[in-house]
Symmetry: C3
Subunit: 135 residues, 3 copies
């Protein structure tokens, strides 16, 4: 694997959980030496995702997960026999990749924005791949 | 902030509203002088989003908003005390970034496609960040 | 159109259908000669989408489509007169673009991940635009 692809390891404890990875990704951006460019995140899993949302009040991500779990019930007559179809569906709704601008050597995020790994079929050990590109 | 990051200002009038920003973004692409590359959009807000959808018949985006508002009700026993949890959830579903190809100095969009800023917690003054990269 | 934008043609047979395009996109990546970089996919349609999900057990994508069709019914008092509002809404939920890392001349996907074209208003003839960039 290319030297320019970094890995963030995430260990989840709940069946569904939002893990704030902004700090770790920010450190990767700093370490990369990239000043102006872009930071790309990719989750190589099919029952997890990535999203950007508020990281000031933790009730926000609790509400996001609770509502997703209501809209896409854990059991709903699914055909897939592993019992995690709801997790696959949530993964396709939030997606498994993010692109964030880098400027002045830092992630360009809004005041309230944080980067979240979304666990939809935990607890598990997961990976987020990160690439930082000068442009 | 880098000279290569442009800002589109959007003022919304409704609680939820889709604002067609295709024209403004097209002008930024033209002004950038980029011939072959990519145009990236990013919303630095946590209660708004971006999407690509039909901009010929305005009932399409009306239907998108109405259905999102039905699937994710404004009130649904949320824990977040600011009363805009539904907006945060919608933001994570449509996402806050877009990537569009640029070719021949223009956005490469399908016949019916337009770029939309999605207001989920208006009315507000909002920003969309735009970067155009030659590649 | 730039020589560096490839087209994958997809013919769908069902009203809603997930079409695995991983093989075709992998061949485009190989043909491009790009070793380290990124592969971008874009659907120029407003009633279709793209997603990454499991391509081992076909019941997974069947469950994704069935649940999307349940959450966003084909008929739900929509205003758009063409009868395909549900397809437009699904398109905005899964999105019309994907970005995947390329390393060692190949797509960097997780063990179970495949690239899917999502038909939401078929049967139709569709296109997926693909660009592979060294970086």
């Amino acid at each position: 694997m290319s030297l320019r692809i970094y890995t963030v390891e995430v260990s989840t404890r709940e069946r569904t959980q939002m893990v704030d990875i902004t700090g770790e990704v920010s450190r990767i951006v700093a370490r990369s030496g990239v000043s102006e460019g872009v930071c790309r995140l990719f989750v190589p899993h099919t029952t997890a995702g990535l999203t950007i949302n508020e990281n000031a009040d933790p009730t926000v991500v609790d509400d996001i997960l609770a509502e997703l779990n209501k809209i896409i019930p854990f059991e709903d007559g699914y055909g897939h026999s592993e019992g995690n179809s709801a997790a696959h569906i949530k993964s396709s709704l939030t997606g498994v990749s993010l692109t964030v601008f880098v400027t002045g050597g830092r992630l360009l995020l809004g005041t309230w924005q944080g980067l979240y790994f979304c666990e939809y079929d935990g607890p598990r050990r997961r990976k987020v791949l990160v690439k930082v590109i000068e442009e």
